[in-house]
């Protein structure tokens, strides 16, 4: 008999029951753990091999740049453009240039050797410059390795996927459990006992936070192991962002589920809430792709705020101060939705 493991405190018992119910749902395990990893894998691989597109190369605005530009452009494999010295690191980080050529004799290449596309570009630049420079000059070109954390698409994608995952499992984790219990009349049965309603809701949040730890470990661990995705910021800050995000989306989940009587009903509301954010909040491509007029609206979406905050920490190494605005937006969404949800919550 397994009831010996059940703790007697109702909050502990409820949390453990919720945790077990979640982990015993195979679909849940797939969507929470497997799906984001598959997504990272598929997109990480897809954007590593760019096909036939010309490789962007920046050439430092310096004396001798013109012939280098001309030589690089000639073959068609490369797309060379001049860039001022100060922009070079940003270009490399954003992937707008795979390599920077500093004109000279011999020229200097600045690039991140971890990036396969940069190494490929280096070979193409070598070949292109071989015809121009004095014999052998290109082969003796100096290289200057530049570490560009977060410059690959996968580095940029992983915080997006993490944000999307926290949104999805936060909303489903709370909303689904509530609506299932309500539609099965279990919620009504539970409030017929001396159970405290706050314990029931708190158990959903606590079980959710336990899963958050597992989800983050799985996705970030996978991304670090397979793609070498790192975290520029502090781990504690990253956890804090995830925690605030999980609570905010937990609140939204509670809000979507506070009245719904059926799973179908709550699924519809969830999709209405989440799908626009999947599209707009910059999970897969930058928010800047949307028109300027839409930016203020997109910026205040909770998923946008969370992904921006996660990218700030993971890519730029921002501390809490650097992402204060995003955290404020998240906390606001969380607080408002919790308060509203608890006011209108339907217990039976």
């Amino acid at each position: 008999m397994s009831d010996g493991s059940f703790m007697r405190h109702p909050l502990a018992a409820l949390t453990l029951a919720r945790f077990k119910l979640t982990i015993r749902e195979p679909e849940m395990v797939f969507w929470v753990f497997v799906f984001p990893i598959l997504m990272a894998l598929a997109l990480g691989i897809a954007f590593q091999t760019r096909g036939e597109e010309p490789m962007p190369v920046a050439v430092r605005d310096a004396p001798g740049a013109a012939p280098v530009l001309a030589a690089l452009t000639r073959g068609g494999d490369l797309e060379a453009f001049p860039a001022p010295e100060g922009d070079e690191l940003a270009l490399l980080r954003d992937g707008r240039a795979h390599l920077v050529v500093v004109p000279g004799s011999p020229p200097t290449y600045r690039y991140d050797p971890v990036r396969p596309e940069s190494r490929l570009t280096r070979l193409l630049v070598d070949r292109a410059l071989a015809g121009e420079a004095p014999h052998g000059a290109a082969r003796t070109a100096r290289t200057e390795e530049v570490a560009t954390p977060g410059s690959r698409y996968i580095d940029w994608l992983v915080p997006g996927l993490l944000g999307m995952n926290i949104m999805g499992s936060g909303m489903w984790g709370l909303g689904f459990g509530i609506v299932v219990a309500r539609s099965r009349k279990l919620l009504k049965r539970m409030i017929a006992t001396p159970m405290r309603r706050s314990h029931f809701l708190a158990s959903l949040v606590m079980s959710r936070l336990a899963f958050l730890a597992l989800e983050m470990t799985a996705l970030l661990g996978f991304a670090a192991w397979v793609f070498g995705v790192g975290n520029e910021g502090s781990f504690a800050t990253l956890v804090a962002v995830a925690l605030i995000g999980a609570l905010a989306f937990g609140g939204l989940g509670l809000l979507t589920a506070c009245r719904a009587r059926t799973i179908e009903g709550v699924s519809g509301i969830m999709n209405v809430v989440m799908v626009p954010m999947w599209v707009c909040s910059g999970v897969f491509f930058a928010v800047t792709n949307f028109p300027e007029a839409a930016q203020p609206f997109i910026r205040v979406l909770p998923l946008t705020a969370m992904i921006d905050a996660l990218r700030g920490v993971m890519l730029n190494g921002d501390g809490l101060a650097g992402i204060g605005a995003e955290l404020g937006i998240l906390a606001g969404w969380g607080a408002v939705s919790f308060v509203v949800a608890l006011r209108v919550f339907r217990w039976q």
Binding site: M1, S2, D3, F6, M7, R8, H9, P10, A12, A13, L14, A17, K20, L21, R24, E25, V180, A181, R184, K185, L186, K188, R189, M190, I191, A192, T193, P194, M195, R196, Q348
Partner: protein, 332 residues
């Protein structure tokens, strides 16, 4: 005595048991829009008593019991449960109640023991899970997920969850609906043991045999009102007939098609207390079958009517309901 009941199932009731009644309500009214689900209902359940609300679906039984359980607020009327009113200290009151609702579906992927443990955690002084498992006969299913239980086992789990807080008063809303006869008997014996340990029970049912087997007193509910109340024995005695004879009847040439005339003539037969008809099926109330049956057969022979599918049974609460409402419990 004119009919037999198992005396073991009906220990003598003590309506004057010490203290406040287990439960009482007066003038209960609940309306849903134009529909009056409960229409001025009074009842009292004594301590140590098993009280049954018997009535067809839609009679207002569930609404009534949910008001008494403090889950619904009545539009009018007063409720007192174990000497307390709802709204004062509900937590303390709920600690002393066991509640079984209709159609609760427990989480499918928790085991039986986990479900009982979870519900037990809500009570300050609950019973050990192992103890409840034994009471409801689910020891061998302790580690089984709820999804793999049969209907009868799920109902016993539901009753177990109502018992896990060691309640003084148990509410059961149609605890055996949809169960096979064996599962019903198993549940009945669970409730009889609870009753025997001085627990009080209020249950709703639309099975007259269940009310007759389990309940010390029964209120027959129809249209949100109590239309009759008493011990099963008293209610049945109120029919004035210990037996019911049922048969199909094909009128003969000289009897004519006049059903009312037939009814009057049959009601006047020796040993017969009354005659009535439900569709094609006739019923006679009879005090004495030895006298009534030969008289009925003679009447058929002389009147040229043909009797078919003749049965007789001791009068039941079902017959009481039919005589009061003209409908069967199961019909509505």
């Amino acid at each position: 005595m004119r009919f037999k009941l198992d005396e073991n199932l009906h220990p003598t009731m003590h309506p004057t048991a010490a203290g406040s009644p287990a439960l009482s309500c007066t003038g209960l009214v609940k309306r849903y829009g134009d529909l009056t689900a409960v229409d001025g209902l009074d009842l009292t359940v004594h301590r140590g008593e098993c009280f049954g609300l018997l009535g067809p679906n839609g009679a207002g039984k569930t609404t009534t019991i949910e008001i008494l359980e403090g889950l619904l607020a009545p539009d009018a009327g007063a409720v007192e449960v174990l000497g307390s009113r709802w709204g004062a200290d509900d937590d303390a009151l709920r600690q002393r109640l066991g509640i079984h609702l209709q159609e609760t579906q427990f989480d499918e992927r928790l085991t039986v023991a986990e479900t009982l443990g979870l519900f037990g955690s809500f009570y300050r002084e609950g019973r050990p899970v192992a103890d409840v498992l034994e009471t409801v006969g689910l020891e061998s299913k302790a580690g089984t997920w709820v999804v793999h239980l049969s209907g009868g086992q799920r109902q016993r789990l539901a009753v177990g969850c109502a018992l896990v807080g060691d309640p003084e008063l148990l509410f059961l809303d149609e605890p055996t609906t949809g169960l096979d006869p064996q599962s019903r008997r198993q549940l009945w014996s669970v409730l009889q043991r609870f009753r025997a340990s001085d627990g009080s029970i209020l249950l709703t049912t639309h099975y007259m045999d269940e009310a007759q087997t389990l309940c010390d007193r029964v209120a027959i509910v129809d249209g949100g009102r109590i239309i009759a109340e008493g011990t099963p024995r008293e209610l049945i005695a109120s029919l004035g007939a210990a037996h019911v004879v049922e048969f199909d009847l094909t009128p003969g040439h000289d009897a004519g098609p006049d059903a009312d005339g037939l009814a009057v003539r049959m009601a006047g037969l020796p040993g017969v207390r009354g005659a009535g008809r439900d569709g094609d099926r006739w019923q006679l109330g009879a005090d004495d079958l030895q006298e009534a049956l030969p008289a009925l057969l003679r009447f058929a022979e002389e009147g040229g009517v043909t009797l078919d599918s003749v049965t007789s049974h001791p009068a039941t609460l079902e017959d009481v309901f039919v005589s009061l409402t003209g409908r069967h419990l199961r019909d509505v």
